[in-house]
């Protein structure tokens, strides 16, 4: 059986490598034509694919998945379309350094169940823009919609002259096979978006990886903030696709002085504060006691469905369930990441306590991901940002849409958000096409006269110290 799997993996990779060989002969214009064709095909199918993904996974809201598909195609395309990714991409006469972009080779992409079709289209676009063949392993719960997405993109790619097998789907279902492909020596890079286990597997495979894991996003509403504006933005973000974006808010932290005002505003805008017993019930449902991980059956469900599953009811049209908590950690399950419209709510004694709570929340499973602040006090924005360990600190903006980029700010639109070393990732950036090229630097001779003018025999003299050489180095001749 294992030998058969090896054979299958070799076959997939041979096709991918041949595609890579053909791909590297294409110029920028040919590459861009392929990317544009894929964008158009993906965008034109945004509604059908969104409905398909929602029906297949039972997660989220199809209308919101249409927006995700639009971000993953229209905004990503607009962001990368003029980027140079082939051949000479820069030539700086001042430094004498010329940069040449080279493709990486076959990229193994893992996509999550929460944003299935959008992540597939996003990863295909950035791989094609950089002339890298892509092998996609989708979450088994979204295999049908992801396969259809890949098929549409592949046909569009071929129509525009892309190499055969430049886009391949890995058959869903076998973890052993997925890991085998991930560790295959012909894989150039793994682009993994998903849970901690998956990201760890990617980094342990022996191949280079960009792995992006979970978040636990705290949002601080400062006393200087516009409270109704802050609350409406948080609701917009946390209820978007029923909270399935890993950059969505998980906790709202406020100073005691404005807590009741914020609480009233949430209620006014159709949110529901859970009673202590309801908090216990939702916590038990959301986080599995034995593993301490998120229950997949809560992911992307509406507030009403979650309440029903927990055995109580909430008013029709409830957008978010809020749980006022006393602490952070295992004893408070709802202080962890829950990809559903459930928010923890923390009134803190004062500003310092509020920020300390945000730090605790940030470090509870979401290090390096994202954080949010609503404030009109620039000093506090900078202080908060300095104290968070987050790749993106989103200011006066819904964190789901803000961290993804391209809608409310100028971050590169991306469905793969780097979390830095804190999240065991290689970067804190929003991953995009420029992360998928090898940049060669052609360094023309430009001697460092200051260094070369030092008598090099002096370096051998142990009696001469650093101060002497700094003087020599900076001496005017």
């Amino acid at each position: 059986m294992t030998e058969q799997l090896y054979g299958k993996a070799d076959e997939l990779l041979e096709k991918a490598v041949f595609a890579a060989a053909e791909f590297q002969q294409l110029d920028q214009q040919q590459t861009d034509r392929i990317v544009e064709n894929i964008f158009r095909a993906g965008f034109n199918n945004r509604v059908r694919l969104a409905k398909m993904a929602q029906e297949e996974t039972g997660i989220g809201i199809w209308q919101h998945k249409v927006i995700k598909n639009s971000v993953a195609t229209l905004l990503v395309y607009e962001n990368i379309k003029n980027e140079k990714t082939v051949g000479v991409i820069s030539d700086d006469e001042l430094t004498g350094i010329m940069e040449i972009a080279q493709p990486l080779g076959p990229i193994f992409a893992v996509t999550p169940v929460t944003n299935p079709t959008s992540t597939v289209m996003f990863k295909i676009l950035i791989c094609m823009k950089t002339r890298n063949p892509i092998l996609i392993s989708s979450h088994r719960g979204a295999a049908k919609s992801c396969t259809e997405t890949a098929r549409i993109c592949y046909e569009a790619a071929l129509e525009a002259g892309a190499p055969e097998d430049c886009i391949q789907m890995i058959p869903a279902g076998s973890r052993e096979f997925t890991q085998m492909v991930m560790a295959h020596p012909k894989i150039a890079l793994i682009l993994a978006t998903g849970g901690t286990g998956l990201v760890k597997a990617a980094y342990s495979s022996g191949n280079p990886a960009i792995g992006v894991g979970p978040g636990n996003v705290p949002v601080f509403i400062d006393v200087s903030a516009d409270i109704p504006f802050a609350v409406s933005n948080i609701i917009l973000s946390k209820s978007f696709d029923n909270g399935t974006i890993c950059a969505s808010e998980q906790s709202v932290v406020v100073e005691q002085g404005i807590a009741s005002q914020v609480r009233d505003e949430f209620i006014r805008q159709q949110c529901y504060f859970l009673s202590p017993e309801e908090i216990r019930l939702v916590g038990k449902f959301a986080i599995m006691v034995d593993t301490g991980t998120m229950n997949p059956f809560i992911v992307g469900q509406s507030a009403q469905v979650i309440a029903e599953k927990c055995g109580f009811s909430v008013p029709a049209g409830t957008k978010i369930l809020l749980a006022e908590l006393d602490g952070v950690g295992k004893e408070f399950p709802l202080s962890s990441e829950v990809l559903a419209p459930v928010l923890a709510f923390y009134p803190a004694k004062d500003y310092n306590e509020a920020i300390k709570l945000c730090i605790d929340l940030n470090y509870l499973g979401g290090i390096g991901h994202s954080a949010g602040i609503y404030a009109n006090d620039e000093k506090r924005i900078v202080e908060f940002s300095t104290l968070m360990n987050a790749g993106r600190i989103v200011v006066n903006t819904p964190t789901s849409q803000g961290a993804v980029g391209g809608i409310f700010n100028r971050l590169p639109p991306s469905l793969t958000l780097g979390c830095g070393t804190g999240g065991k990732n290689i970067t804190t950036e929003n991953i995009t096409a420029r992360h998928l090229i090898n940049i060669q630097r052609v360094c023309r001779r430009q001697p460092n006269e200051k260094f070369l003018s030092i008598d090099h025999t002096k370096f051998l003299d142990e009696s001469l110290d650093a101060g002497f050489f700094l003087m020599e180095y900076h001496k005017n001749h």
Binding site: F18, A21, Q24, Q25, E164, D165
Partner: protein, 106 residues
């Protein structure tokens, strides 16, 4: 696009290609090669010929053409197949395809 020169004395078949060997043209190339092999087999009492792909006038190769190279190699056996006169870009393409170690490419 493709021309054959069979040196019967040395039993060497040189196949000369030119232009873009893209996905669309490769099925015709493959069938022309197959026909030629069948003809040689029918005509001759010799073993299968040594095969040389002359790439001097080739500007682009698709993954389908790389597959033709691999099929031809498997048909001829090691030492009986060579790809000659590649320009540096084609040489690199064979490197990336991972065939440089398996095939004789120059």
């Amino acid at each position: 696009m493709i021309s054959f020169n069979h040196d019967t004395a040395n039993n060497q078949l040189t196949i000369r290609f030119n232009g873009r060997l893209d996905t669309l043209s490769c099925p015709d190339i493959q069938s022309a090669i197959n026909d030629k092999f069948s003809k040689i087999r029918k005509e001759g009492k010799q073993d299968g010929p040594k095969v040389v792909f002359n790439m001097q006038e080739v500007t682009f190769i698709s993954s389908s053409f790389i597959r033709i190279c691999l099929t031809t190699f498997h048909g001829c056996g090691k030492g009986n197949f060579a790809i000659l006169n590649c320009d540096p870009f084609l040489k690199k393409t064979f490197k990336i395809a991972g065939l440089d170690d398996l095939l004789t490419v120059s």
